[in-house]
Every structure is written in structure tokens, then in C-alpha cells.
């Protein structure tokens, strides 16, 4: 009895901390949800329950004049396009860097990709805007795909190498003794083993492309804007529409949930991915 009381007292700070953190996480989420089901023009009174409940906001963004669909479809096209191209390029590069990691030049190249991550996006979109306007690539989806690849590529190469490093060299050597050339070894032996890591990295690369704002906001036009730019339209063009904004924000989480559900199994390995 005394022991349980003592342990309850000792874990009291832990529970208090947990409550504070849950409040911090959920208070804004509550308002996001509450506003999305409250008629437009109503101001919620703090944590008091909404005075009236409606589905109008969802109906507005699903069927109204400022619907989500074009932006959502653009987002999917652009995200899949840029991620697939980036991965097709990143996978062989990361494989090579894994083999070259004992060489000074190989390590230098690897560090180069880390430094590429720190290139400011603003330093890229500025020239791309001028170049794209000359080439007629502004306001096109393929133009966006090109411009988004640099967001995913250095990160993917950096992360993927860890998964190739984890493949025992003996596996590859056995394949080569059996007469498989470098390319056959890569495609039929290495790639199948590395698939989980490639899948996880693709998911997180896709996430970075999906949430991008600066590239799309600069290079896209009304017909090609993606979801993250679309949601900002509610505050400029439709100033009072906080209800539809909240509804659109919540619908925009669905692709994120899909990506996370897919990559969740690999999260732990990705956490230690930068470390060798």
C-alpha cells in the first residue's frame, strides 16, 4: 500500500507533463476540427462546444466554386513524378557511394550531397523563374516536376546509402563469383534486398515534395498550383472563409496519412539513417 502510494507520487510529475503536452498538441487540433464543422461567420467561444454544427464547409470545398480537386490532382501528379525521377537517379548513386565509402573521393562526394541540402530554395527559384519564363515552362506541371527534383534528390542519396551499407559485401561477391556482372548484381541481388529502405526513403522524399510551398508558389499558375499553395488562397482571395479553410486543411492530411502509414514500419531505421 505504502509502496504503491509512493510510486504514484513519484510518477505524478510524469502525468502532469503528459497532460500539458497533450493539451499543447490537441488544443489547436480541436479548434481546427471545431471550426471545420461550424457555420461560417461564427466565432467559437474558447473551448465551449460549437453553437451549431454543419457540413457546409466540407460541401463547399468538395463541390463549391473553390474546390480542392484540381489542386489535389496536381499535387499527386507532381509529387509522384518528382519522387519517382529522383529515386531512379538516387538509388544507383547511393549504391555507388556505398561502394566508394572507403575512398576519399567517394566520401567527399557524399558530403557534397549533404551540403547540397543546404542550398537555399530561394536561390534556386529565382533563376528558375527567369529560365522557365524564357523556355515557356512556367505554369506547367512538367516544369514543376523538374524544379521539385532538387528537393528530393540530395536527401534521398544521403539516406539511401545507409541501406546499401547494411548489405553484406559477401552477398555481392558471391553473385560475382557466380558470373553476374556489376549491373546484374545490382539489379537482381542488391535491389531486392534494399527494397524496404528504398520504399521508406521514397515515402519521406515524397513528403518533402508534397508539402513544398516556395517552388510551386513561384513557378506555378492558377491551373497548376498544388494543395499547399491552394490552402493559402483562403486567406487572400476568400478572406472570411475560415470554415472551408479548416475543412480543406483536414482533407489535405489524407495523403500525409497515407504516406506515413506506408513508411511507419521503417521509421526507426530512418531515424538512425544519418549516422554511420
Amino acid at each position: 500500500m505504502a509502496a504503491t502510494t509512493r510510486s504514484a507520487v513519484r510518477s505524478l510529475p510524469k502525468y502532469l507533463l503528459l497532460i500539458v503536452i497533450l493539451f499543447w498538441v490537441f488544443m489547436p487540433l480541436y479548434f481546427l476540427f471545431a471550426v471545420s464543422i461550424t457555420p461560417d461567420g461564427t466565432t467559437l467561444d474558447g473551448l465551449q462546444p460549437p453553437p451549431a454544427v454543419t457540413g457546409d464547409n466540407y460541401e463547399f470545398v468538395l463541390t463549391g466554386q473553390y474546390v480542392i480537386w484540381p489542386a489535389l490532382i496536381n499535387s499527386i501528379i507532381v509529387t509522384v513524378g518528382a519522387t519517382v525521377i529522383a529515386m531512379v537517379i538516387a538509388v544507383p548513386a547511393a549504391y555507388a557511394l556505398s561502394h566508394l565509402r572507403h575512398k576519399r573521393s567517394g566520401r567527399g562526394t557524399y558530403l557534397g550531397f549533404f551540403v547540397l541540402r543546404s542550398v537555399p530554395p530561394v536561390a534556386l527559384v529565382l533563376p528558375l523563374y527567369i529560365i522557365f519564363s524564357g523556355l515557356g515552362l512556367l505554369n506547367t506541371l512538367h516544369g514543376l516536376v523538374f524544379a521539385l527534383i532538387p528537393l528530393a534528390l540530395p536527401y534521398s542519396i544521403w539516406t539511401l546509402r545507409v541501406f546499401f551499407d547494411a548489405i553484406p559485401r559477401e552477398v555481392e561477391e558471391a553473385a560475382s563469383v557466380d558470373g553476374a556482372g556489376t549491373f546484374r548484381t545490382f539489379f537482381s541481388v542488391v535491389l531486392p534486398i534494399a527494397t524496404p529502405g528504398i520504399a521508406a526513403t521514397s515515402a519521406l522524399a515524397a513528403l518533402q515534395v508534397y508539402v513544398d510551398y516556395i517552388v510551386v508558389a513561384t513557378l506555378a499558375g492558377p491551373a497548376t498550383l498544388t494543395y499547399p499553395v491552394y490552402v493559402t488562397g483562403f486567406q487572400q482571395d476568400y478572406l472570411a472563409l475560415v470554415g472551408p479553410l479548416a475543412a480543406a486543411s483536414l482533407i489535405g492530411t489524407l495523403p500525409m496519412i497515407a504516406i506515413f502509414a506506408f513508411s511507419q514500419r521503417y521509421m526507426r531505421r530512418l531515424a538512425t539513417a544519418g549516422i554511420h
Binding site: 507533463l17 498538441v25 488544443m27 489547436p28 487540433l29 479548434f31 481546427l32 467559437l44 474558447g46 538516387a90 544507383p92 548513386a93 557511394l97 561502394h99 566508394l100 572507403h102 575512398k103 567517394g106 558530403l111 547540397l116 541540402r117 543546404s118 542550398v119 537555399p120 530554395p121 530561394v122 536561390a123 534556386l124 529565382l126 533563376p127 523563374y129 527567369i130 534528390l153 542519396i157 555481392e172 561477391e173 560475382s176 563469383v177 548484381t185 508539402v211 510551398y213 516556395i214 508558389a217 499547399p228 499553395v229 490552402v231 483562403f234 486567406q235 475560415v242 479553410l245 479548416a246 480543406a248 486543411s249 500525409m256 521509421m267 526507426r268 530512418l270 531515424a271 544519418g274 549516422i275
Partner: protein
């Protein structure tokens, strides 16, 4: 030069030679043999081509523009050498210097809060039973499921701005504090709170993943020795976590240094330029004032600073850990 050829590859080479000479039959060289690493450079060609085309070439164009007065509002486009840089480096643009210092403050504050919050969440999770931890992992990460710009607009319109200002209202501060996004003293802090809410779960997820990868028996052994919780934290858990913490925070630092969308969506740098980070200041120069030449010069300065910081992080890591990233 001699050092490079005689260090690690030498050991491998003798091994291979030994194997080859012991065997009776001539063999294909194995993948680890000395002539074979060259072919891997071939696998890097596509990446090199894309980096050249989509990153290096545009940056080269930025560098070219930075040497010009290219200003669409004044209708000029002429070569001026290093005049833009002279203006920046001589302190001729105090707003840029202020945005640079503000960016550094922003990075430090965001990282500090992300780390304290993320580490607390990760440690709480670590002390739970696996099934409970699984639930709380999802609860804690919920904010990152919302697209950052959606979080930014939502916080701006619903949490900070009247008539909603629900953040202040819930805490009972709405009569004491003026609407923060309209107040030059408070606007940056309102943005920082938003950023921490929206994007800190990344730090939590990475730290929690690192914590779970630790060997629990070492930590449990120290409990038996009678070490208090904070002693264990300080002498066992944090030292073991050091690599994960360093990598997580340095990635986060780079991202925060380049941060653009929250400030741009919530205030566009206002009120009175009080929330401009480097990214937003440069973006405004280029795309609002259409001063591409000067904006390019600023972008080059920012590129140099951020590259130097990230190279510095790598070198620091190699030196202190004696390990190569």
C-alpha cells in the same frame, strides 16, 4: 597522393591477391578488388547530370545575375561587377543584416524548443509499455499530418487573429495581449510558436526512434545501481543518444535556416519588416520589388553562409567523434 593509394585499399588488395594466387584457376576480379571501384562512378553519372542541370546551372545563373543591376521596376539590366556585394558587405542594407541575425535567433530558439519538447515526448514514450507507447507516438505526431502552409494559415486566422484569436482566448490572455501578428514585438514569437507546434513532431519521431534503438539493458543496469532518473539521463541516456541528437538537430538547423513558408504565409515579413527571415527578405526583393540582380546577390550571400554552416557541422562531427559521416 601516396597516402590515398596506400591506406585502406592496400589491405584489400593484398587480400585479393592472396585469394587469387592461392586458387589454381584464374578468376574474375571480385567486387572488392582494386580495379573495380572505378566502375561505380558510372552509377553516379545520372545524379551528377541532374545536379549540374537543376542545381549547379541555376546557381551559376544566380551568380551571373548577382553581378548585374537587373531591376524590372526601374527597367534597368546592366553589368556592374561586384557592386551589389559591396553594398551588402559594407552594411548598406541594415534590413538584410537584421534578417540574418533574426534568422540565427529563429534557428536557435526553434531548435532549443524542438529539442526540449521532442526529447521530453520521446522519454515519456520510452517509459511506457509498448502498446501504450504506440498510441502516444501517433497522438504526438498528429500536427505534422497537416500541411505546413495549412497550419500557417489556420494559426494565423483562427489561433492568432481577431475575432477568433483562440490561442490567447483559451489561455485567458486575449484582453491582456494585443493581436500578436500585428505587433512588431510579438509577431516573430507567434510564428515561432506556430512552427514549433506544426513541425516539432519530426524531432520527436527521430529522437524517439533513436531512443528505441538503444540497448535497454544498459539503462536498466543503471537503475539497479540506484542512479536517480536525472543522473541516468545525464550520464547514460544522453551520451548514448549523442549521434542521433546531433544528426537530428543539424538537419533541423539547416531546414530552419532556410525556412520560408511559415513567415511568408503568416506575415510576409511584416509588420514593418519585423519578421523577415533571410529567405523571405530575399524573396521579397526578387519577386515583390522585381529586383532580380540585388536579390541574386543576397541569395549568393545566403548560400555561402548556409554551406559554410553545414560544412562546419560535418567537420565538427568528424573531429569530436573521430568518426566519418
Amino acid at each position: 597522393m601516396t597516402e590515398r593509394t596506400s591506406t585502406i585499399p592496400f589491405g584489400r588488395r593484398t587480400d585479393t591477391i592472396a585469394i587469387v594466387t592461392q586458387g589454381k584457376f584464374p578468376r574474375r576480379p571480385s567486387l572488392g578488388s582494386r580495379n573495380s571501384t572505378g566502375k561505380y562512378w558510372f552509377f553516379l553519372l545520372p545524379a551528377a547530370a541532374v545536379v549540374l542541370l537543376l542545381i549547379v546551372a541555376p546557381l551559376g545563373y544566380t551568380a551571373y545575375l548577382s553581378l548585374r543591376h537587373y531591376d524590372l521596376t526601374r527597367g534597368i539590366n546592366e553589368f556592374v561587377g561586384f557592386e551589389n556585394f559591396a553594398e551588402i558587405l559594407s552594411g548598406g542594407d541594415p534590413e538584410f543584416v537584421a534578417s540574418l541575425l533574426r534568422t540565427l535567433l529563429y534557428v536557435v530558439v526553434v531548435i532549443a524548443f524542438d529539442f526540449v519538447l521532442g526529447m521530453t515526448q520521446a522519454l515519456l514514450l520510452f517509459s511506457m509499455r509498448p502498446a501504450t507507447a504506440k498510441v502516444f507516438r501517433i497522438l504526438f505526431m498528429l500536427p505534422i499530418l497537416i500541411i505546413p502552409t495549412a497550419s500557417a494559415v489556420f494559426w494565423r486566422t483562427i489561433m492568432w487573429s481577431p475575432p477568433n484569436e483562440q490561442f490567447l482566448r483559451t489561455l485567458g490572455l486575449d484582453h491582456l495581449v494585443s493581436p500578436p501578428l500585428g505587433d512588431p514585438q510579438l509577431a516573430l514569437w507567434a510564428i515561432i510558436i506556430t512552427v514549433i507546434w506544426a513541425w516539432s513532431p519530426w524531432v520527436f519521431l527521430l529522437l524517439s526512434g533513436g531512443l528505441d534503438a538503444l540497448d535497454r539493458s544498459v539503462i536498466e543496469a543503471s537503475t539497479v545501481d540506484g542512479a536517480s532518473y536525472f543522473q541516468r539521463l545525464r550520464h547514460i541516456i544522453l551520451p548514448l543518444m549523442k549521434p542521433v541528437i546531433f544528426v537530428t538537430l543539424s538537419f533541423k538547423a539547416v531546414d530552419s535556416f532556410l525556412s520560408f513558408p511559415f513567415v511568408w504565409v503568416m506575415t510576409q515579413g511584416g509588420p514593418g519588416g519585423s519578421t523577415h527571415l533571410m529567405s523571405t527578405y530575399i524573396y521579397e526583393q526578387a519577386f515583390k520589388f522585381l529586383n532580380y540582380g540585388y536579390g541574386s546577390a543576397l541569395a549568393i550571400v545566403m548560400l555561402v553562409i548556409s554551406s559554410a554552416l553545414s560544412v562546419g557541422a560535418v567537420l565538427y562531427w568528424n573531429r569530436t567523434q573521430g568518426k566519418e559521416l
